[in-house]
């Protein structure tokens, strides 16, 4: 007997058996919003046939605070600390993306030293994000504790650097329109250099533990395959896109900042599965280390703020601009419309994890619930920026 349409959305968090002669015994499960595997307050309405996912609808908005409206009611500078709260692991890259968009809007130049600092901090953020992701992914696979703690040990070292520079571990609020806020002393640059020089050894240790691990390979290889066509059409960016084999890195394509000066490679995946997404991040960290070593070696002395830059009473001329950078999770962009006033008329955040979630259902169909957890982990979401 048919009790209800098994594929219709069901409100509320509950487990609902669905009986119907075509679908056998389908079970509807609400995973989340309070579930350790969902990396925040995120819910997946999963319809299961046995253990296989036949339908999955992501539900989010639990952390929604209408960030964009807040941005429209604050001055340009006043939004800078709010951008830290988007992707709270990567406040430095969020700051940079926002500063870049405003600089495009106002035609603001950035001094050389500040450009180097931006690259250094963005690449440190990439190390931090990818290290955490690898730890969390392994945690999702069931490797309880050890890999995550190894990752967090290294993450703390980077956060210590951020704290000594900006005063805050995670909410850095460091970039400004036309430069940066604080000039690091030479001792800071030396400390960063020591950390970067030692990071390769940590990655070797981490990889020795994980990359060839049979259980990790069994759990992740062939799981959640993403084809290149779907990835491009669905606007997937960042390591997820490159794991699907599409060579698109905004650092290379847009050549923003001073990235063209650095020699680095863009690693590409072959299969687009979860293992590739893990591997791409490890390889990207190794490229980041190369960029960092060169940037820390070459960083020139000089001002960190353009003397013509105006922070308070900043009113760009009417117009609009879209600025984007390659964040650790993908393309993070800001779209600003100015009407000549002190506040932006429209302030839009293009959040990478929000768009990357579009293909979650496509990746999970046909896999088991346990695999859905790993696939979600490999997409690398932060709900602060998904929900905004």
């Amino acid at each position: 007997m048919i009790t209800s349409d098994p594929l219709s959305p069901a409100p509320g968090a509950r487990v609902r058996p669905v009986h119907d002669e075509f679908h056998g015994d389908l079970l509807e499960v609400s995973m989340g919003p309070h579930h350790p595997s969902t990396h925040g307050v995120f819910r997946m309405m999963v319809t299961l046939d046995g253990e296989t996912v036949v339908r999955l609808k992501p539900v989010f908005g639990y952390l929604h605070r209408n960030h964009e409206k807040l941005g429209e009611n604050t001055t340009y500078l006043g939004s800078m600390p709010y951008t830290d709260r988007l992707d709270y692991l990567c406040s430095m890259t969020n700051n940079w993306a926002y500063a870049l968009a405003v600089e495009k809007l106002a035609g603001q130049a950035v001094p050389e030293r500040a450009e180097y600092l931006r690259v250094i901090l963005a690449e440190l953020t990439r190390l931090l994000n990818h290290t955490c992701l690898a730890g969390f992914l392994l945690q999702d696979c069931g490797a309880s504790g050890t890999p995550l703690m190894y990752a967090f040990r290294e993450r703390e070292k980077i956060l210590d650097l951020f704290e000594s520079l900006s005063g805050s571990r995670m909410m850095c609020n460091y970039q400004r329109f036309g430069g940066c806020r604080v000039d690091p002393p030479p001792a800071w640059l030396e400390a960063a250099g020591r950390l970067v020089d030692g990071y390769g050894a940590f990655l070797d240790e981490y990889e020795a533990l994980l990359t060839g691990n049979e259980i990790l390979m069994a759990r992740t290889q062939g799981v959640g395959r993403l084809s290149a066509d779907l990835a491009v059409s669905a606007g997937v960016t960042g390591p997820m896109l490159r794991a699907a084999g599409v060579a698109y890195d905004i650092r290379k394509v847009d050549a923003y900042g001073i990235y063209p000066r650095f020699d680095f490679r863009v690693p590409l995946g072959d299969h687009g599965d979860t293992y590739d997404r893990y591997m791409i991040r490890v390889l990207e960290m190794r490229e980041s280390i190369k960029i960092l070593q060169r940037a820390l070696h070459e960083i020139p002395a000089g001002p960190i703020m353009d003397p013509k830059a105006k922070l308070r009473g900043f009113r760009p001329k009417p117009g609009e601009a879209y600025g984007r950078i390659e964040g650790p999770k993908g393309e993070i962009g800001f779209y600003l419309i100015s009407d000549g006033g002190p506040n932006p008329c429209r302030y839009r955040v293009r959040a990478p994890s929000f768009v990357n979630l579009t293909i979650l259902e496509d990746l999970c169909l046909g896999h088991t619930v346990a695999d859905a957890v790993i696939i979600l982990g490999s997409i690398d979401i932060v709900l602060g920026e998904v929900d905004r």
Partner: protein
């Protein structure tokens, strides 16, 4: 990459009768955009994606912009002939006119194949109240799926042909569209534990009306 003017000319040659106009962007970013009419938007979007020259296969950013009604003051200068036969006098007349607002949806397109961009297209609704439907571009670019849902949720643009148009960030029972400029948030009176002055007057509106006690005096009323 071609300039927006070149793209417009090719579009007009390919789609005669379609409304395509270049919207200039005066900021130093100089990212000019193309305003398309809703009737041809999906055909044009598919053409932009498949055209060998442009190959805009990647729709990066979809967002709404609320353009509320504006009051525009127009100055009309008319020549009034001098009855005495002298030179005509210029008379200025100021007319206040309400320029109707609209909701705008902006798409930032890039090409991953040809590595160029952005090409920005904008679609506009008829007004902000009853003609808020626009064609969905999700069949062309899958990345519009969640972002168009967000525009529907926060701005109230109805996308025709969207496979799953529901609210995405606000809950299903919510009414209103918070990103509109004239959105008024619900009266939040609970933020101060001991209200006084203005806040007290505001809070009193939310106090329950006291039921009349049988004795005549209001129950619970303190002297």
């Amino acid at each position: 990459m071609e300039t927006p003017e070149q793209i417009r000319d090719r579009l007009l040659a390919r789609f005669p009768g379609a409304g395509v106009a270049v919207v200039a962007n005066p900021s130093p970013a100089a990212q000019h955009s193309l305003a398309l009419d809703a009737a041809h938007a999906r055909e044009i979007a598919a053409w932009l994606r498949d055209d060998a020259e442009l190959r805009l296969d990647y729709c990066s950013n979809v967002t709404g912009v609320d353009r509320p009604d504006r009051e525009v003051v127009e100055t009309i200068t008319t020549a009034v002939p001098d009855p005495a036969g002298g030179p005509a006098r210029a008379a200025e007349q100021k007319i206040k006119r309400t320029q109707p607002g609209c909701l705008e949806v902006v798409y930032h397109l890039y090409s991953m194949a040809r590595r160029h961009g952005p090409v920005i297209i904008r679609l506009r609704t008829g007004n902000r109240t009853d003609q808020v439907a626009l064609p969905s571009l999700t069949p062309v670019w899958r990345s519009c799926e969640f972002q168009e849902r967000e525009v529907f949720d926060l701005f109230g643009v109805v996308f025709e042909g969207h496979p799953d148009l529901r609210r995405i960030l606000m809950w299903d029972g919510f009414t209103g569209h918070p990103m509109r400029k004239d959105y008024v948030e619900p009266d939040d009176y609970e933020w101060e534990p001991t209200p006084h002055d203005k806040i007290l007057a505001k809070a009193k509106k939310h106090y329950p009306t006291e039921p009349a006690a049988p004795g005549g005096a209001a129950e619970g009323a303190q002297p």
